[in-house]
């Protein structure tokens, strides 16, 4: 009887790319030995779990961010739409997992779950590792035990990746899910909103470089290699490479905490006395606007306009937002001024706003007519797509005709 391998190959199945299937090594280095200080094996009723711990005391500098106690977290939680569990930072954890793949699904497991929390001394990092897939349940149980007082979790892209994946692992191992009631602050979403315009990439790696000012060392293992390192460890029993993964994960979590600190600082310190990039200031103004703090956002926008490094197009963008806020507050003079600035610089919407303003607020038909006319002129010069142009053109024509009629009516009445 030919082997299954032979049968499959005669049936036309192509040979898989030769996997470098390393043999088990004679001198096996265990996970605990590979990680070194701070690592230990812990036993619970479901088996063994490897734990690695490390502390970063208050005053520790990560890039240009200093870990501090007593930060005001209300604004970041509000801006990040954290709906529960954010009252006490010490009951929150930073979390990041290392997994056997990125595709998701029940066949992907998290062999390393790293968490960090602030306590009275500083940031304390705990990493839970699975030495053998059969001990996954022990790891999950240990994680649940050590986080029983936690109320919220902070992640980077955890909403769509880490947490659903962990949830799936608990279901597979028939264990209760410890975090179903936790709040969740995903810094990926918040970072996107803050740096969407200024940074081409908002990956944690790039934020570290651009925002935290900490380029990682070249010899660190890149993320895409991590699954293969774990598979190789399982095949050979040699965990020496795992130490690099543990380090990678630790750095991710510490950076996550630092990023949290950085955003907190941006939101809560006096923006006017700091040297922030004007675009960041603008983005923060928008965050405040989004969470309904209108006066704060107005003052930030106004401050932003006074910054040196701001260009015309950005200025016009801010003007538009500010004008909208002033209009809402019926502060017509300020709104009119901003619209005029923009309108004279070719902004069609501003001209239309002014036309509306003169027609409905001021009952000043001739002025409304002039701004409608200018809107048309601006439209001709602009490079917006043709079908849109057509729509606006039509609207403007209707407006102009109405205004013309009203002007004739008025002059008839007057004569």
């Amino acid at each position: 009887m030919p082997s299954l391998l032979d049968r499959l190959h005669t049936l036309g199945l192509k040979k898989a790319a030769e996997v470098s299937s390393p043999r088990p090594k004679a001198n096996k280095i265990s996970m605990v030995d590979a990680i070194g200080s701070g690592a230990k094996i812990l036993e619970n009723q479901l088996g063994n779990v490897v734990i690695a711990e490390k502390s970063y005391p208050y005053g520790y500098l990560h890039g240009n961010i200093e870990f501090k106690d007593m930060v005001k977290v209300e604004s970041i939680h509000k801006a990040g739409r954290l709906n529960s569990g954010g009252e006490n930072l010490k009951k929150m954890i930073f979390l990041d997992t290392e997994t056997t793949g990125l595709s998701g699904g029940t066949g992907t497991l998290a062999f390393l779950v790293g968490i960090a929390r602030f306590d009275d001394e500083g940031l304390k990092l705990t990493q839970f590792l699975v030495e053998d897939p059969s001990e996954e349940a022990a790891m999950l149980l240990e994680f649940a035990n050590q986080t029983s007082d936690i109320e919220a979790v902070i992640t980077f892209n955890g909403k769509s990746f880490d947490m659903p994946l962990l949830k799936s692992r608990y279901v597979i191992n028939r264990l209760p899910i410890p975090f179903s009631e936790w709040g969740h602050l995903d810094l990926l979403h918040l970072s996107r909103r803050i740096w969407r315009q200024r940074l081409a990439s908002r990956s944690l790696k790039d934020l570290e470089i651009e925002i935290l000012n900490i380029p990682r060392s070249d010899d660190e293992v890149p993320g895409w290699m991590i699954p293969e390192i774990y598979f190789n460890y399982l095949r050979t029993g040699d965990a020496s490479q795992i130490a690099n993964v543990v380090y990678h994960n630790a750095m991710d979590i510490v950076s996550l905490a630092a990023l949290y600190m950085a955003i907190t600082k941006m939101l809560d310190v006096d923006l006017f006395n700091q040297k922030f990039h004007s675009w960041d200031v603008f983005a923060i103004g928008q965050l405040y606007e989004a969470i309904g703090e209108v006066y704060k956002s107005i003052s930030i926008y106004e401050h932003c306009l006074s910054l040196m490094d701001i260009d015309l197009s950005k200025k016009m963008e801010i003007n538009t937002r500010l004008a909208k806020l002033y209009k809402k507050a019926s502060n017509w003079d300020k709104a009119r001024y901003l619209w005029e600035t923009n309108g004279n610089n070719g902004d069609i919407d501003a001209c239309i706003e002014l036309a509306k303003y003169y027609e409905h607020e001021q009952r000043d038909v001739p002025n409304a007519f002039v701004w409608t006319h200018l809107a048309e002129a601006n439209l001709e010069k602009s490079d917006i797509v043709r079908y849109k142009k057509k729509v606006i053109k039509n609207e403007l024509r209707v407006r102009k005709e109405r205004l013309e009629k009203r002007m004739i009516n008025v002059s008839e009445k007057n004569s």
Binding site: R7, G12, K14, T100, G101, G107, D132, P164, F231
Partner: protein, 839 residues
């Protein structure tokens, strides 16, 4: 002008009457109505009554009673008999009993899924029992991401398709934990479509589904429906690997139905050429239109739909707007409009492919015309089932083509009326289909030692697991096999094919390559070899190159009027013999074989005249196919009997005493030059070829006349010999068997391969006919045919006896070859020997 006048026109007008080979009037049938069973929830009964449903047809009552008892059920009643009720009621009843219960329904097509959602919603709304907008939902590739999590959490009745189950649901079962924990019923609609490769995949998919159910501690019941096939219980049991009971007796009412077989007249009796199906269908459609009877015309291909629609519109310009085509590829919006038009009567005639065969709700039409036999009886019945609006009388016409199968039914219509012979077969243990599902299953939940995968025992399963450990995707740790790989295995294969490679077909236009299609690797070798003319969507291309490293065939425009035809050499090697049956006339072997095919050359053929313009050699890699097949080896006794009657054309030739002299004279005449490729060579290396085969002559002298002889080099000689199709008893029977096989097993023509050899090396140089599965490792077609060989031979004999052609035609032993060779007499004699023995 109406239905009755159409009927009388068909019956009386000799123009039509003479071509009608069968006319059957089925009387109308009253319904067999049963009261609602007592156990059914009184609120549900009350609501059904409010909707005007007074009771259940007998088969519906039978089905839901069986389901209530906990049985798995397959319902096989006719089209439009209300099969959906058979699963809708148990599901709703269960939901009224326990609001957490869930049901999974899967359907072979998207259109069907949405139709079922509508039907379910109607019942739910009509019964007004459960007010939850998410109660029933479709979950498929089109479901927006924003709705998916709501559906996962709230939906109780989930409608989906096998592909979504494979890729989206099972590998993410933890997201569906709540759904699975309360799963009561799994409904599989139209299981007759789950046959062959597709069915074998579905069998494995159900194994995975059951494995996941087991994880959540549930064992749901299966409710299935099927069109009429020979083996519905067997198929259902093979799919779900459990006991299944059949509900068969149809209790729904039917209007009177007339079924007519229209066999187009012979245009050339000797050659067996009939008037074409397209022309005939066009004529009959015009007749139906003239009588103002609403009709559906079914065609085999999309191209056919377009041709017929265009022709009908042209011939009936005043009705053009009421004539529409309908096929896949049309916009959804247009299709809905046509469906609506058929329902409200604004469309008089729709020309459709099988896209309208399944599910899609169009009410009923008064007449259905089938342009050619659709390939299987169950497909024929589903199409006919489209006729009959409420309980009005209706008409169905089958226009038969020249194909042997069509002509078989034209002469033996009783087979269309009786219980069909065709079996739906699957082979979930085909290694190429099984392997990817074991990967997916391991991804979904780790395998534990001693576990089974469906009916696959541990000893067999562990071979696959060990193989996957070696491949590096599984790791064996402490009694379990864990998926430890970054890949997502369900993305790597399609449920509709084996894992064979695909070749992309690209059209090159001004330096830019655009992919216009794909073929599997094996077919690429003969379909898109360099120089081949490739047809798609009525356009014709020529293959510039075939890159088998990158798996790309590059096409360019083709403007001349010729087609190409590959010349394929085949070698057969039996690997093992599993079964053997012997008589003194033939030995029937069944087992594993290796088929090595190689495209050695291709012919360029003038499109209209069919003249061979050239034969060009090719160097293509040999393709190996390991599969299952049976071969019929003829004994010496059999061959001698044929020889005695001078009916054996496969012997080696004796060219006569003077052959040496004659052939040398021909070489000299031809200047020692191959008359095909122009190569000149030593005399001893050049062959002399009979243009009209030697065997066709009664006298040696006539055969060896100078005009019939030509000098060829060995290579061109081989190609020339190959190009002449000797119709002998052997190839005639091969043609018959492979064409009539679909009578017994549901299959496409491409699912089976055949081979005939008068001197087979693998059978002691005896003559052999071989039929094999063209899917690697086989899916059981040849196996079933082997077991039913007598049945198959009987049908072949029946057809040849009934065919009125002179000496072979496309409808029996194959078309008369270029040289005027038939083979009908020989084949008939051989069949008699095989069936009745030599004495």
């Amino acid at each position: 002008m109406n239905f009755d006048s159409l009927i009388s026109q068909l019956r009386k007008n000799p123009l039509f009457r003479e071509n009608i080979s069968f006319w059957q009037d089925q009387p109308s049938r009253v319904s067999d109505l049963k009261p609602f069973p007592e156990w059914l929830n009184p609120r549900l009964i009350h609501s059904l009554k409010n909707m005007g449903i007074k009771g259940l047809y007998s088969h519906q009552a039978d089905a839901i009673n069986r389901i209530q008892k906990g049985q798995n059920v397959v319902v096989t009643t006719g089209t439009a008999s209300g099969k959906s009720i058979c699963y809708q009621l148990p599901i709703l009843n269960q939901l009224l009993h326990d609001g957490q219960s869930t049901a999974l329904l899967f359907f072979p097509t998207k259109a069907l899924t949405y139709d079922q959602l509508k039907s379910f919603s109607n019942i739910v709304l009509g019964t007004n029992l459960i007010l939850d907008p998410n109660l029933a939902a479709v979950y498929d590739g089109d479901t927006p991401a924003t709705q998916r999590s709501v559906i996962r959490q709230h939906t109780r009745i989930l409608l989906s398709n096998p592909d979504m189950l494979n890729i989206g649901i099972l590998p993410h079962h933890t997201n569906w934990a709540h759904f699975f924990e309360h799963l009561k019923y799994i409904v599989i609609d139209e299981i007759h479509l789950y046959r062959g490769v597709f069915g074998s995949h579905i069998g494995n998919l159900i194994r995975r589904l059951k494995r996941v159910c087991e994880f959540y501690n549930v064992s749901p019941q299966f409710i299935m429906t099927s069109a009429t096939i020979a083996n519905p219980i067997e198929l259902a049991q093979n799919l779900v690997e459990d006991n299944v009971n059949q509900v068969e007796t149809d209790g729904s009412p039917k209007g009177a139905k007339s079924f007519v077989i229209y066999n187009p007249p012979l245009v050339n009796q000797d050659l067996g050429i009939r008037e074409g199906v397209l022309a005939t269908s066009s004529k009959l459609s015009a007749l139906i239109l003239y009588h103002n009877v609403q009709a559906l015309v079914f065609c085999g291909t999309r191209r056919f739909v377009e041709l017929l629609t265009r022709e009908l519109k042209g011939v009936n310009p005043s009705l053009a707007s009421t004539i529409r085509g309908y096929r896949s590829g049309y916009l959804k919006k247009d299709r809905r409009e046509i469906e609506e038009g058929l329902k409200n009567g604004s469309i008089k005639l729709a020309v459709a492919t099988n896209a309208l065969e399944l599910g899609v709700d169009i009410g009923g039409v008064d007449a259905v015309l089938l342009a050619g036999y659709p390939g299987s009886i169950c497909s024929l019945r589903q199409r006919i089932g489209r006729s009959g609006r409420s309980q009005n009388p209706s008409l169905s016409i089958l226009v038969t083509s020249m194909n042997p199968l069509d002509q078989f039914f034209a002469r033996n219509p009783q087979y269309l009326m009786e219980r069909p012979l065709e079996q739906a077969l699957i082979n979930p243990n085909n290694p190429l289909i099984l392997l990817p599902h074991i990967k997916s299953a391991a991804f979904e939940l780790p395998f534990t030692e001693e576990e089974q995968f469906g009916s696959l025992i541990w000893e067999e399963l562990v071979e696959y697991l060990d193989y996957l450990v070696n491949e590096g995707v599984l790791q064996h740790k402490r009694g379990k096999y864990y998926w430890l790989s970054e890949s997502y295995p369900s993305n790597d294969y399609s449920l509709r094919s084996t894992m064979a490679d695909k070749v992309l077909i690209q059209y090159e236009n001004q330096g830019e390559a655009e992919t216009i299609g794909e073929v599997d690797y094996a077919s690429a070798l003969w379909m898109v070899h360099p120089g081949a003319v490739y047809l798609q969507d009525g356009l014709s291309f020529i293959v510039k190159s075939l890159d088998l490293e990158k798996n790309i065939a590059t096409l360019s425009d083709h403007r001349s009027d010729f087609l190409t035809e590959p010349i394929i050499s085949q070698e057969i090697e039996p690997l093992s013999e599993v079964k053997r049956m012997e008589s003194d006339i033939f030995i029937l072997h069944y087992g594993e074989i290796m088929v090595t095919s190689q495209v050695t050359a291709y012919r360029r053929i003038q499109n209209i005249s069919k003249e061979v313009l050239s034969i060009d050699p090719l160097e293509m890699p040999a393709q190996k196919l390991q599969t299952t097949g049976f071969w019929m080896e003829l004994t010496d006794k059999c061959v001698n009997k044929m020889r005695a009657e001078s009916l054996w054309l496969s012997d080696a030739n004796d060219y006569g005493r003077d052959w040496k002299k004659i052939s040398e004279a021909i070489r000299k005449r031809d200047n020692y030059r191959c008359q095909s490729c122009g190569r000149s060579d030593e005399s001893s290396l050049l062959h002399v070829h009979h243009k009209i085969p030697f065997k066709c002559f009664t006298s040696v002298e006539k055969a060896n006349e100078m005009d019939n002889l030509v000098t060829l080099c060995p290579n061109c000689h081989k190609l020339a010999e190959l190009s002449i199709r000797m119709r002998s008893a052997l190839s005639g029977l091969k043609y018959l068997m492979s064409n009539l096989a679909p009578l017994l097993v549901l299959s496409e023509p491409s699912d089976l391969g055949s081979y005939a050899d008068p001197n087979a090396k693998f059978a002691n140089m005896n003559p052999v006919i071989l039929i094999y599965d063209s899917i690697p490792a086989g899916i059981g077609l040849a196996s079933s045919l082997n077991d039913r060989i007598q049945e198959l031979l009987d049908k072949c004999q029946q057809l040849v006896h009934q065919c009125e052609c002179q000496d072979g035609c496309p409808s029996c032993v194959g078309p008369v070859a270029q040289m005027g060779l038939g083979g009908k007499k020989e084949t008939t004699f051989l069949l008699d020997l095989l069936i009745n023995g030599g004495d």
